[in-house]
């Protein structure tokens, strides 16, 4: 990886060479901060962006997406791939980490999701190192940190009047090199000047190894305790950057129609309800078991990385203020 130092002006000038890219950055409307399309000129020189309340998931797995158009009773079909080029700047290391979790589902495991792949391959993700911890952040409690690249195309460190850019993407590195004051080939984040990185002592969450969690799936009493506060809504899964479960339905207009993909949540009743009326996960006990185990056991077991990035969005969204950190601790101490 290449580490480059540039003045702020040069860094923005370098970005102008991506003129054929749509630029997205976090923008506040009322009490929500979401990724909005802006022009490169509108990028603030201090490169300070608020943390998005809706994660970058909405650009890679949109709440609604057309898979293909069809003509009923005929074989006419027209798939719709989104190939717009996007440059997304201002995300945080936890968002980049979340994209790695989404990649593990959509780009590995024997099948390839063309819709997700075309959005992922046509996007450049530039994160910024966090200046301070939000009250609900806990990435450090999971062993991650506010200054990691986490597979992003580049991370921008605030070095006062300059910026330090650790570029994982070679194309981006070359374009920045022309404007750089200093460049250095490095192995990882520890070898670079990361400016003022916030740090606090934090007690690591007692996350177990994936298989250690398996026996817990038979402990009804544990999940009964966790379930009691949950209302069974989709707020946590829709706002979680690593929750990718989706539903597929058809929308018609006379003889034609389109098959669309929309969000779904393991907390909803219809999620596993079978045509016979049997529901293998009838109550919130089984559903909370699925939610927790999927992030802390199944994804690590199948793909080798935690399904939770410590971004804390579910803490803010939950109507019952359920705190997944408490659930991790409680599960670790549960003796049945």
């Amino acid at each position: 990886m290449l580490y480059l130092k540039l003045t702020r002006k040069n860094f923005l000038a370098a970005l102008e060479s991506f003129s054929d890219y749509q630029v997205y950055a976090p923008k506040r409307t009322e009490d929500k901060v979401r990724l909005k399309e802006i022009t490169i000129l509108e990028l603030p020189e201090n490169l300070q962006f608020e943390r998005c309340t809706h994660s970058a998931k909405e650009l890679f797995l949109p709440p609604e997406e057309t898979l293909f158009y069809f003509k009923r009773f005929s074989s006419a079909q027209k798939p719709l791939l989104d190939e717009t080029k996007r440059l997304i700047i201002g995300l945080r290391p936890c968002d980049a980490r979340a994209l790695q979790v989404l990649d593990s589902n959509f780009l590995q495991g024997g099948f390839d999701d063309p819709y997700y792949r075309s959005r992922r391959e046509n996007s450049l993700v530039l994160t910024i190192a966090c200046r301070e911890f939000e009250k609900t952040c806990f990435c450090d409690a999971l062993g991650l940190g506010p200054d990691l690249l986490n597979g992003a195309d580049a991370i921008i460190y605030d070095l006062g009047d300059q910026v330090g850019v650790l570029a994982g993407n070679t194309v981006l590195a070359q374009r920045l090199q022309a404007f750089a004051l200093e460049t250095k080939e490095v192995e990882n984040e520890t070898q670079v000047d990361r400016g003022a990185v916030p740090s606090r002592e934090v007690e690591l969450l007692p996350v177990k190894s994936p298989e250690e969690y398996f026996p817990l799936i038979f402990q009804d009493k544990l999940w009964e305790e966790i379930e009691s506060a949950c209302l069974g809504c989709g707020a946590c899964s829709y706002l979680c950057p690593t929750c990718y479960c989706f539903d597929i339905t058809d929308v018609n207009l006379g003889p034609v129609g389109k098959r669309i993909r929309t969000y779904d949540s393991c907390m909803f009743n219809m999620y596993t309800l079978e045509a016979s009326g049997h529901n293998p996960r009838p109550t919130l006990k089984e559903r909370w078991r699925q939610r927790f185990m999927h992030k802390f056991s199944y994804i690590p077991y199948l793909h080798g990385l935690l399904g939770c990035t410590g971004c804390g969005r579910c803490l803010e969204a939950c109507p019952s203020r359920i705190d997944i950190r408490e659930v991790v601790k409680y599960v670790a101490t549960f003796t049945g």
Binding site: Y69, S74, V251, L253, K258
Partner: protein
């Protein structure tokens, strides 16, 4: 929009209003052809979701017509309908959907003339309100594919 021809959906109760509409036809009363009639057993059967779904799919006006209070074949169907649809009509107005879009009427089996008059008035009102843009679904991409696939 003078050449705008509104699409109107009418839910007519089978025992009175449907018969009234039939009488209007038999008696050769003239009334605009914009209305598409859906027969329902009683005005009490009309679920406000029918109205929202009709507007969502592209109707410009929705009419619900039943027997005059007291004449209902099922005794109380229209009384329930009266409370429900009045609250619903006001809800549509409160949410900013043009009041002309939804109309409720009592038409008995012998009021063919009134039915024709009702439809003439309602069509005018909807024409004045213009095409439904308040709650109509997004169709442009599907219409485009429809033309392509022809």
């Amino acid at each position: 929009m003078e050449n705008f021809e509104p699409k109107i959906i009418a839910f007519l109760c089978n025992w009175c209003s449907y018969a009234g509409a039939d009488l209007a036809g038999v008696s050769r009363f003239q009334y605009p052809a914009n209305v598409r009639v859906i027969r329902v057993p009683c005005s009490g059967r009309v679920n406000p979701l029918f109205v929202l779904k009709a507007l969502y799919e592209g109707a410009d006006g929705v009419l619900v017509s039943g027997c005059h209070p007291g004449d209902c074949h099922y005794q109380s169907g229209n009384y329930y309908a009266r409370r429900r649809l009045e609250v619903f009509k006001k809800l549509l107005e409160f949410s900013g959907i043009s009041p002309a879009r939804f109309k409720m009427a009592w038409i008995s089996a012998s009021e063919g003339a009134q039915f024709a008059q009702l439809i003439r008035e309602f069509t005018e009102e909807v024409k004045k309100a213009g095409p439904n843009q308040e709650i109509i679904r997004e169709k442009s991409d599907l219409e485009e594919f429809l033309n392509e696939s022809r």
